[in-house]
């Protein structure tokens, strides 16, 4: 970078700022909306004339709280469980795919890819019927299972890429040192794959967290309804009033955990833990 001229540098900075503004503008808008009073919403200005916490009060303590708070709990619970399951299952699957030679390896990977790109909307109706008949409709497991179909394929793909990066000698060294295959996996491979596991977990969590179609179709009460579905059910104070402010406030609250997650783990995601494992 030292060879870059001042001119070039300025251009990079300008371009960077432009991209950041472009990406963050909608979020800023949502935040601004969430701080506007109902009368202020369509005033045509970016900033509210009076800053108000009214919308947040409405969804956290007011009328909409009954709808929003249980949904928040549901979303967290369901997404965390789905992520944890996806991580554990995909860790074993990816290890096998990266390390072992077995027939059907290609089929597993391509099936996983096929599942990942399969349109959710086309299986939601049959699933709705099936779930109602076997009693999974409107329950946590009823959402966790379809969420696994979203999170598992991508987890297997990212994780097997990470496992392939780990030098095989690590594991062989562990075996020569007296470890069983399981010990080598647990004490050497898993710690080395930790950045991969974190990355995978975050991607999986986002996928589950952002789902709307399953959430709205497979639930009917606050027993299992996740936040994105609950947002769609907000209503205004009267039928002539849009709940825009409340939705914006809820959207901001829903975004916060995601941002925290990324900020918390970005070091781990980026860290190349295998540095120094081999010759340098």
């Amino acid at each position: 970078m030292s060879t870059m001229s001042t001119r070039e540098k300025t251009w990079w900075i300008i371009a960077g700022i432009a991209i950041v503004i472009y990406a963050l503008f909608p979020i800023a808008w949502i935040v601004s909306l969430s701080l506007k009073a109902p009368a202020d919403i369509s005033n045509g200005q970016f900033l509210p004339t009076i800053f108000t916490w009214e919308n947040y009060e409405l969804i956290l303590a007011g009328d909409a709280a009954e709808l929003f708070l249980p949904a928040l709990v549901n979303s967290f619970g369901i997404c965390l469980i789905a992520t944890a399951l996806a991580c554990i299952l995909s860790m074993f699957a990816a290890y096998a795919i990266a390390r072992l030679d077995f027939p059907g390896k290609k089929i597993i990977l391509s099936t996983a890819l096929a599942v990942a790109i399969f349109p959710v909307i086309s299986i939601v109706t049959p699933l709705f019927n099936l779930w109602r008949q076997i009693g999974l409709y409107d329950t946590w497991p009823g959402l966790i299972i379809p969420y696994l179909s979203l999170t598992l394929p991508i987890s297997i793909w990212t994780m097997s890429a990470f496992f392939r990066e780990i030098p095989w000698e690590m594991e062989q060294a562990a075996q020569v040192d007296g470890a069983t295959s399981w010990q080598a996996f647990r004490k050497v491979i898993v710690p080395l794959a930790a950045p991969g596991v974190f990355t995978t977990a975050i991607i999986a969590f986002f996928l589950a967290w952002n789902d709307f179609v399953y959430g709205i179709s497979l639930t009917s009460t606050s027993a299992a309804r996740p936040v994105p579905a609950a947002l769609g059910l907000f209503s205004g104070a009267s039928q002539f009033e849009d709940p825009t402010g409340a939705i914006a406030a809820a959207a901001v609250i829903v975004t916060i955990p995601v941002i925290i997650l990324v900020l918390l783990f970005q070091r781990r995601i980026v860290a190349g833990l295998t540095n120094g494992a081999v010759k340098g």
């Binding site: 075996q175 040192d177 494992a277």
Partner: protein
Amino acid sequence: MASVEMRNIVKKYGDGYPAVNDVSLDIADGEFMILVGPSGCGKSTLLRMVVGLEDITSGDMIIGGKRVNDLAPRERNLAMVFQNYALYPHLTVFENIAFPLRLQKVPDDEVRRRVNEAAEVLELKEHLERKPANLSGGQRQRVAMGRAIVRDAEVFLFDEPLSNLDAKLRGQMRTEIARLQRRLGITTIYVTHDQTEAMTLGDRVCVLRKGVVQQVASPRELYEQPANLFVAGFIGSPPMNFLPASVSGGRVRFPFGEFTLDERRAAAVGDRDLVLVGVRPEYFEDAKLVDDAKRDRGITFTARVDVTEWLGDAQFAYIPFEAPEEIVNQLRDLSRELDSDQLRTQAVVSIDASSRMREGHEAEFWMDTRKVHVFDPKTGENLTRDAEAGAELTRMAAEEREAQVAEARGAAAAAS
């Protein structure tokens, strides 16, 4: 500590190609055995079969009197240093060295004592709390060795441990490994493609070519009495010169003149139209600088010097010679197989550094004919190999080693 016996070991891969073919090798308790050969000769595969990372297609691997073919690596109690060290990057140096002990569930203070001991030997004391990523190449190498010596392994295995270090460090670590092995007296198998390591470290050296053992002998025997063309060309640097010649009645005619073989060698060779005469570079000398006492033991000849290389302590001269096409092709194949790339048929001769021979001019050389070997160009067999003299050299090396091991164990016993 244990002996290692290999009985007719074969390794075939899926395509049926034998990477290791019918290798039988006995390695005595406390012996330092080198497996050497050009890349692709099966030396690493053989080592990995010893440690259990590679399945054995057929044959018996016996360690300490026990057949280990079907045992997992962890049940064989061997310690191995990998080419790229394979240190655990998420653990500190201390925990890296302690790793095998932790797996054996050794109590904490015992672990601390033994790791500290190993760190003392390897001068790693001040680095124990660091991560491998922050160490230099030589330090990583020592950590890998620490992990090997911390436990009471039956055999040490090294897989080209020095190939990732720069030349200077390699020399240091080489002496370090030699010192350590003598001190601990543990049976060691060491794989390398570097013949300097092979010659300096090994009690015995096993030369492999395409998965087949060519010769197992002490470094001196390999050098003085090579079994065939391959071993002769592989051991020694610069390599042995091979010159086409014909022999009749013990009289050898070769591009630089004629000389007579002694009775034993003449009888062994007989009369042949085409042989290869193997002469090491140091058997040559600038004729002007030869001692008169020595002059009678060789012949003198004149030849045109193509290039000279003056290195301060030594000097090499290159002398081109003519050879029949089949010999040229064969020598080219051989040098390709030995990973060297000698393009023309020329003899490399070592002359005194003070010699003022001039490039592109005729010069007079002297050649010591006493140690010249004669090879059959078809089979590559060394026709003049003196098996008894060779065996004597290896026997002497074995005696030396036994004395050293006894000394090391005596010292260890006295220390404890």
